[in-house]
C-alpha cells in the first residue's frame, strides 16, 4: 500500500489539487453543482481524449503534432456521413470513423518508421495534410450528428453528480487501454519509450510497436473528434487548440517527454485541472480572452518545467 502511494504520489497530488480546485469553485460560486460539473465534464471531454492519445505516443517515446488535425478529420467525417442518417445507420459510421482514426495514426507511424524522418517533422507535415483533408471534406462547420451520440455525453447518470461525459471517458479509455496495458504490447510501448536499444536487444519489434502507438493515438483522436461533434452537434473542420493543451496535460500528468514513464490517469486529471482553472476564471468573471492568456501561460510554463526536468534526467 505504501509503495502504491509512493509510486502514484504525483497522480494522488493531482487528484487532491483537482478536489481543492472544485472546492474553490464551490466557494466562488455557491450554487455550483451537478449542472456545473456536467458542463465542465462535457467541455473537458475532447481535451481529455486528445490527451490520452498524446500520452500513449509520448510514453512510447514519440510525439504527434497532428492530433488536433486528425480530430478535425474525424469530426467532419462523422458529421458529414451522419447528417440525416438514422440511428441504425449511424453505428457503422461511428465504427468507420474510429477505423479512420486508427488508419490516420498508422499512416503517421509508418511514415516515421519508413522514412526515418524524425517524428516531430513527419507529424508537423501530416498536421497540414490532415488539416487539408478536413477542409476538403467540409469547408465550414456543418453536418449533423446522431442524437443518441449527443445523449451519450449530455446530462448525468443516476446520482446527479456523475456526469455522463466522465463515464463515457472512463469507459472508452478503460476498454481500449487496460487490456493493452496488461498485455505484452503495453510492456513494449513502455519499453521502446524507455530505452529503444535495450528494447531491441530484448527482442521487441521496435518499428512495429511504434506504429501501433501512433495508431492508438489516431484512434483516440477520432474519439476526440467525435466528442467535439457530440458537444456541438456539428462537424468542426478547423482544429481546436488541442495540440498544446494535450502536450501540457501530458507533462503535467507526470508523463515524461522522452518516454517510458507515467500512465493515463495523471494526464486525465491534469486535463480536468486545466479545465477547472479555466472555468473558475470565467466564474470570477475574468474576460474569456484573458482567461485564455492565463491558461496558455500555465500550459507553456508546464511545458518549460517539463523540458527542464527532461534535460536534468538526461544529464543525471
Amino acid at each position: 500500500m505504501t509503495r502504491w502511494i509512493e509510486a502514484n504520489s504525483w497522480t494522488l497530488g493531482l487528484a487532491v489539487l483537482l478536489a481543492a480546485l472544485l472546492l474553490m469553485t464551490k466557494l466562488i460560486q455557491p450554487d455550483f453543482g451537478a449542472s456545473g460539473l456536467e458542463s465542465l465534464a462535457r467541455a473537458a471531454l475532447p481535451f481529455a481524449l486528445a490527451t490520452v492519445g498524446m500520452a500513449i505516443v509520448v510514453i512510447a517515446g514519440g510525439i504527434d503534432l497532428s492530433i488536433a488535425a486528425m480530430m478535425a478529420v474525424a469530426s467532419v467525417t462523422g458529421a458529414v456521413l451522419m447528417d440525416g442518417a438514422t440511428d441504425a445507420q449511424s453505428i457503422p459510421i461511428v465504427i468507420g470513423v474510429l477505423l479512420l482514426g486508427l488508419a490516420m495514426g498508422a499512416i503517421n507511424g509508418t511514415l516515421i518508421v519508413v522514412t526515418r524522418v524524425p517524428d516531430i517533422v513527419v507529424t508537423l507535415a501530416m498536421l497540414f495534410v490532415w488539416q487539408g483533408v478536413a477542409l476538403l471534406i467540409l469547408n465550414a462547420p456543418g453536418g449533423g450528428i446522431a442524437p443518441w451520440l449527443r445523449g451519450l455525453i449530455t446530462g448525468s447518470f443516476g446520482p446527479d453528480w456523475l456526469p455522463r461525459a466522465i463515464v463515457f471517458l472512463a469507459v472508452v479509455t478503460a476498454v481500449i487501454w487496460l487490456p493493452i496495458r496488461r498485455s505484452k504490447l503495453g510492456l513494449r510501448l513502455y519499453a521502446i519509450g524507455s530505452d529503444p536499444l535495450a528494447a531491441f536487444r530484448s527482442g521487441v519489434p521496435v518499428g512495429q510497436t511504434r506504429i501501433v502507438a501512433y495508431a492508438l493515438c489516431g484512434l483516440f483522436a477520432a474519439l476526440g473528434g467525435l466528442s467535439v461533434s457530440m458537444g456541438t452537434g456539428i462537424g468542426e473542420p478547423i482544429p481546436g487548440p488541442y495540440l498544446l493543451a494535450s502536450v501540457a496535460a501530458v507533462v503535467l500528468g507526470g508523463v515524461v517527454l522522452g518516454g517510458g514513464r507515467g500512465g493515463l490517469l495523471g494526464p486525465i486529471l491534469a486535463v480536468l485541472i486545466l479545465r477547472t482553472v479555466r472555468m473558475d476564471l470565467t466564474l470570477l468573471s475574468v474576460d474569456p480572452n484573458v482567461a485564455a492568456i492565463i491558461e496558455g501561460s500555465i500550459m507553456v510554463a508546464v511545458v518549460m518545467f517539463g523540458a527542464v526536468l527532461a534535460t536534468r534526467g538526461r544529464h543525471a
Binding site: 517533422v121 497540414f128 469547408n139
Partner: protein
Amino acid sequence: MTLTDTPTAMSRLGRLVVDRPLLPLIGLLILLVALLAILNPGVLSMFWVSNTLKIAIPLAMLAACQTLTMLTGGIDLSVGTAATIAAYLTATLAPLIGVPPAIAVAIASALVIGLVNGFGIAICRVHPLIMTLGTALIATGCLLVYQRYVIATGVLIPDFLLWLGTGRTWGLPNSLALFIPFAILVIWAQRRSGFGRLLYAIGANEAAARLSGVRVWQVHLTLYTLSSLIAGVTGLLYLGQIKTASLSLALPLDLPSVAAAVIGGTSIFGGRGGYGGTIVGALILTVLTSMLTLMQIPEGGRRILFGLIILAVTALFIRLTERS
C-alpha cells in the same frame, strides 16, 4: 586522399542538389512558369511578374525566419502571429499616439514574443516547435484582449507603408526597396558574420559547437529574438500591402513560410541551406499557389500539397545525405 563514396548517378544528382540547390530550383521555377503559361496563355506580363514579386516578398521575409532557425535545427511557428500583432498594433495605435511611437510599440511587442521564445528554447530547452506554438497561442490571446479593451478610434495605415506595400516604380513593386537590402544583409550575414556561421555550426553538430566553446544558449536567445524582429517588420510591410488590420492577417503565411524554406534546400535538421534558395522557394510557392487557384484547387488541397511537399523533400534529403 580517399573520397568515401562511389559516384553513382543517384549520388551525383544528390550532391548537385545538396551543393548547388539554386540551379535545380531555378529550373523548377522556370518549368512552373512555363506550365502556367501553357495552362493560361497570355497570363505572363510585366504586371504579372510585378504582382508575383509583390505577393512573394512578405512570404520570403517570413521564410527568412524559418531559414535562420532551421539552420540550427529549430523552427519558428510564431512568426505569423508576431507579424499580425505588429501590423494590428501599428494600425490601431497610429491614430492614438502617432505613427513612430505606434511602430515602436509594435516592434517591441514582436521582440517580446521573440525573447519569450528564446528563453524557453535556450534556457529551458523546450523544443522550438512546441515553444513557438505556445507563445503564438498566448500572444493571440493578448491581441484579442487588446482589441477588446483599447478603444479603437479607427485604423490608420501609415502612408509610407502603403507606398511600400502597394506602390510601384517603373512597373516593379516598391517593397523591393525593403526586400533587396534585407536579402543582401541576410545572405551576407549567414556566411560572413560570426553569428551566421555559428547558426550553421550549431545545426551541423551542436555538441561539436559546444566543445569549440560556443555557448549555445546565447545563440538561440539572439536567434529567436531576431526572428521575431524580422516577423514584426514583415507585418508592417504586409499591413501596407493588404491595407486592412485584421486579427489573423499574416497567420495563413506560417505554413507556406516553412514550406518555402524547405523547398529552398534548407535542411529542417540544421546545418545546410541558405537564404538564396529560400527566396527561390518562396517564388516557386507563389507561382504554384496561383496555378492551384487557376485550377480551382480548394484551400484544403493546397494544404495537403504543402504538407506532402515538406515531408517528401525532407525524406529525400535524408536519403541523399545519408551516405556515411
